[in-house]
């Protein structure tokens, strides 16, 4: 068996505990091994990152892909906002995304003579998160001080759409042109269901609270995805949109950079690759019959990831998240909101949380995302009192610890988990690059199941998923 892959080190952030408090990483525990994703699914694409060349490969790919983009609308006297979002900075250490952003700026400047190029980086629910990244990756310097984080509570701007007025963040749109710089990593498939994934930030990271609340409360689990399209298609946004540049991502790394003046063409391409590559891992995760899930990554509980799949999606892996005929994944906010006072869904046909997760050991994960649903429905052990105290001071997680237990250290937490659950299958959500850190029995299980899953996705599921989204292969 292969040794475990070294996970990303804990990061200093106001949303997590001090890295010095993370004493042991789950990958270092006895009995842990790793499986390379290409071993599971040999048809996963070749990647340009991680690689020996490092982020230079990303710069090269960005320059190459921007060659096909028309920038003639940008005049030297114009202003350009490069729009970014927090999520990209959590991918493979964050440097690749930061490098793409820097390269886009350099190329625009060289090609158009425009000097007034700013970075506007949107957030999820941690309003200072991108401020932290801007400093960490030297983006403030690279953009000559014109790099800021923007939040959904900042001053807004009304946007007239086909479905009435929605609201964007004013600072996102305060330039002559906007460039949409994002990535195709699947992340919250429980929300976007791989429908208009490329467009989503227009209804989310670039949007005001009214719009985000529309998505999560007014439209329903699948119709929600129309929010972003409505905004993007508005005459206002169309009058400013120059082009998009995406890191295209597969579970095993960054495949390439894809840039286009036509966002919907790019969207169709990433819909295909997203369904094909992430669909296999996601389906394989759905096969796991029992396990202990260990969270060990500098991200909120929902976003820690293994093999490119976030914990939130593993909690719903008992449902086919890509099958649009299934209205509600076992975890998504609509589902969560449909649990009544007795702690069960208001309708009998609403799926329950993935019962294969026998216990969650929370070794290291951040606050800044409402996560009480997880500790309420999955037995959860949090490592270290400091981490528990940190959660108790987060306005979004005031009841997370109400349902979780505290263990003194990771070893004690794991001993407890093994004893109580009786399973020796462990999956570690530590963002290991190129592979997945698991216990030996789970490694064997995954290797055995993968070929059948691969066949099923190729022959049955993928054609259905594409059909449901109107994407023709």
């Amino acid at each position: 068996m292969r040794p475990p892959i070294t996970p990303l080190a804990p990061r200093p952030s106001q949303y997590g505990i001090d890295p010095s408090l993370v004493k042991t990483r789950a990958a270092d525990l006895p009995g842990m091994t790793s499986v390379m994703l290409k071993e599971l699914f040999p048809d996963l694409p070749e990647v340009i990152f991680p690689c020996e060349e490092g982020v230079a490969a990303i710069r090269k790919a960005t320059e190459e892909s921007l060659k096909n983009v028309d920038m003639s609308m940008i005049r030297p006297e114009h202003s350009v906002n490069i729009l970014a979002a927090h999520h990209g900075f959590t991918l493979l250490g964050g440097e690749p995304y930061a490098e793409m952003l820097k390269t886009i700026k350099d190329v625009i400047e060289a090609r158009t003579g425009c000097k007034n190029i700013r970075l506007r980086a949107g957030v999820g629910l941690r309003f200072r998160e991108t401020e932290e990244y801007i400093k960490r990756y030297g983006l403030d310097q690279h953009f000559n001080g014109k790099a800021i984080g923007v939040a959904p509570v900042d001053q807004g701007i009304p946007i007239e759409t086909e479905v009435g007025t929605l609201y964007g963040i004013k600072k996102i749109y305060d330039a002559d042109w906007i460039v949409h710089a994002h990535n195709s990593d699947v992340r919250e498939v429980h929300f976007h269901r791989q429908v208009d994934r490329a467009v989503k930030p227009f209804g989310m990271a670039y949007a005001r609270i009214e719009t985000r609340s529309t998505y999560h409360q007014n439209l329903g689990p699948r119709a929600a995805n129309f929010t972003a399209r409505a905004i993007f298609d508005s005459p206002f946004v169309q009058s400013k949109f120059a082009f998009a540049s995406f890191l295209t991502v597969a579970p095993n790394g960054i495949i390439n950079v894809d840039a286009d003046n036509d966002l919907y063409a790019l969207n169709d391409r990433i819909t295909q690759s997203g369904l094909r590559y992430y669909g296999k891992i996601m389906t394989l995760f759905g096969e796991i019959d029992e396990c202990i899930a260990v969270l060990d990554f500098p991200c909120p509980v929902v976003y820690v990831f293994a093999a490119g799949v976030i914990y939130a999606n593993f909690a719903g892996a008992n449902t086919d998240l890509y099958d649009l005929d299934t209205a509600l994944p076992a975890y998504t906010w609509y589902t969560e909101s449909f649990y009544g006072k007795r702690g069960k869904p208001l309708l009998d046909d609403i799926p329950r949380v993935n019962s294969a997760i026998k216990m969650c050991v929370h070794n290291y994960a951040w606050t800044g995302y409402p996560s009480a649903f997880f500790s309420e429905h999955i037995p959860t052990v949090v490592v270290g009192q400091e981490q528990a105290d940190h959660f108790n001071m987060d306005p979004q997680n005031l009841t997370y610890m109400k349902h979780a237990m505290v263990a003194e250290d990771l070893k004690a937490a794991m001993e407890f988990a093994y004893k109580v659950t009786g399973t020796d299958k462990v999956v570690i959500f530590d963002g290991a690059m190129g592979g997945i850190n698991v216990s030996e029995p789970l490694a064997e299980f995954l290797l055995k199941k993968a070929p059948e899953v691969s066949k099923r996705v190729d022959e049955e599921l993928l054609p259905k998923w594409l059909r449901q989204r109107g994407v023709i292969l």
């Binding site: 009214e210 719009t211 609340s213 409360q217 007795r342 001071m393 005031l398």
Partner: protein, 206 residues
């Protein structure tokens, strides 16, 4: 319902009087006095919005020695009225409308039936919108509207701008235009209607 366990404290030395905090506080707990931000401790609901957006890092969140429970007593109003108001806004009374504070539609409805007239008052009374500060403005506006109340956004504030479209209001031509792109408007109406009309699990007056 929310347990308020922290309070915003302004460092007057650092405050440059930009008014950002005043403009975004969801319960209007901040006023400018002599061009400095001043927090009304009795109103603050510990959401950290101001702390997270102050451009000068002049605000800190401080732990309260005695946490305060903020809650509207649903049993104090006729539950039939609560149910009726929720269902008119197309919510199940037990539906969670604020994920961070686990506030249900019935509590917001009860606040309205007891006289709350604006999102700010509702947040002050129930704690809704004082967790993530992002996701729950629309349900609050929908419940107010269903009660025949049309609140005005706070003057000069950025707290909120307006109610937006619901799935029941998506024009037929829009549905037709995008019928093949995976949005499932009509199917989602069905599921939301079924939830809204499902029986409650535990009446607050029982």
């Amino acid at each position: 319902m929310k347990v308020v366990n922290q309070l915003a404290v302004v460092d007057a030395e650092k405050c440059r009087g930009c008014k950002t905090c005043e403009r975004i506080c969801p319960v209007l707990a901040i006023k400018m006095e002599n061009r400095k931000a001043v927090v009304d401790n009795e109103r603050c609901r510990g959401c950290a919005n101001c702390e997270q957006r102050c451009p000068d890092y002049a605000i800190k969140m401080v732990k309260l020695e005695q946490p305060v429970l903020v809650k509207v007593d649903v049993s104090a109003v006729d539950y039939a009225l609560v149910e009726d108001l929720c269902r008119r806004a197309k919510f199940n009374p037990e539906q969670l409308i604020c994920y961070c504070t686990a506030t249900r539609a019935e509590e917001v409805a009860a606040a309205i039936l007891q006289g709350a007239r604006s999102p700010e008052e509702i947040s002050f009374l129930t704690g809704v919108r004082t967790g993530c500060k992002v996701e729950c403005i629309q349900p609050v506006l929908r419940l107010l509207e269903a009660a025949g109340i049309k609140p005005e956004p706070p003057k000069g504030g950025w707290q909120w701008y307006g109610r937006t479209v619901t799935v029941w209001e998506i024009p037929e031509e829009v549905k037709k235009k995008y019928a093949s792109r995976g949005f499932y408007f009509d199917e989602d109406i069905k599921i939301l209607d079924r939830v809204a009309n499902a029986p409650v699990q535990e009446r607050s007056d029982s």
